[in-house]
Symmetry: C3
Subunit: 127 residues, 3 copies
């Protein structure tokens, strides 16, 4: 279910891009308990001047490998589940996609069951 938007700078290989998407999806399935085919990822690649990413004063260094991950999903996940997701995600991206934890930002937005039509004009979550 989650719709995942991933924004990053142009210049990565297709293999690197795939590694990022695979890592994100693996942790999503693991930590939010969604089906393995619950995968909806959209990447937009940007020129450097199109992304200005700082750190709110948290002392987090950014590089040109920065990845913004915006997740839209149904409400119902707990604080604890989200925290686990953040923690596991940076580890997986570091280990298997060459993205350092300081270059990973996640923003979640929630909606409801009537807000999803996965295809064929149905509202699958209402059935």
């Amino acid at each position: 279910m989650p719709l995942v938007r991933i924004d990053l700078q142009r210049g990565r290989s297709k293999a690197d891009l795939k590694a990022i998407l695979d890592a994100e999806h693996k942790i999503l399935v693991q930590d939010f308990g969604v089906p393995v085919r619950d995968r909806y990822q959209i990447v937009t690649q940007h020129d450097p001047e199109e992304m200005v990413i700082e750190d709110t004063g948290f002392g987090i260094e950014r590089t040109d490998k920065f990845v913004m991950i915006q997740v839209t999903m149904r409400g119902g996940r707990t604080e604890s589940q989200k925290q686990t997701f953040y923690r596991d995600l940076v580890k997986e991206l570091q280990t298997n996609a060459g993205v350092e934890p300081n270059d990973v930002m996640v923003v979640i937005s929630e909606n409801g069951s009537p807000d999803w039509s996965f295809g064929n004009g149905d509202a699958q979550f209402l059935k």
Copy 2:
């Protein structure tokens, strides 16, 4: 009012793109009862490796004609209105824009009246 983001693969003609936008807007006006000039559509076109779209296990086949439609609008629409919108939208896209129902996904996010400024620095819904 709705802000509609449409993501799809590169390669469609301008006429095909226009047909998709026209179809989406027609059903939006019809089923959500918004003014005909309540039209705010933003398309982003992607390379194939930038979109990974599966089916949650619902058995929905995807092609390279897949269209993701993300709608941000004020709350207040009912479940029934949303279901009608999904159903009518896939029919219209199939009939007039050459997009099959299995290639149409919709995600809705809601906000409130203070969250919209359509121009000139005003919050038009608060007036």
Copy 3:
């Protein structure tokens, strides 16, 4: 904190783009009281046929300089704060970025404290 997505037509210089981003961020900091390094802006540039922007019937003229600003932030800002933000933003964009008030639209979506990880796998707002 706010994640700010900015969509506009291709064709502006890097300097013009920077002026828009600087103007938006200046007013964000000023009117929402966020830290000066609380800056997360992502621009996507579009071909003309990728953006259809009308006016809901409010009589707002659009040009090819139109700028869509979509803000995702934690809830808690008042109606009044948002109205001030809209008003100040169009003035700043007009004065310092060459964008007229009729070409500025803002849409806000809100989420919660658990929904933000700024880096390192932490949920910084929960600490």
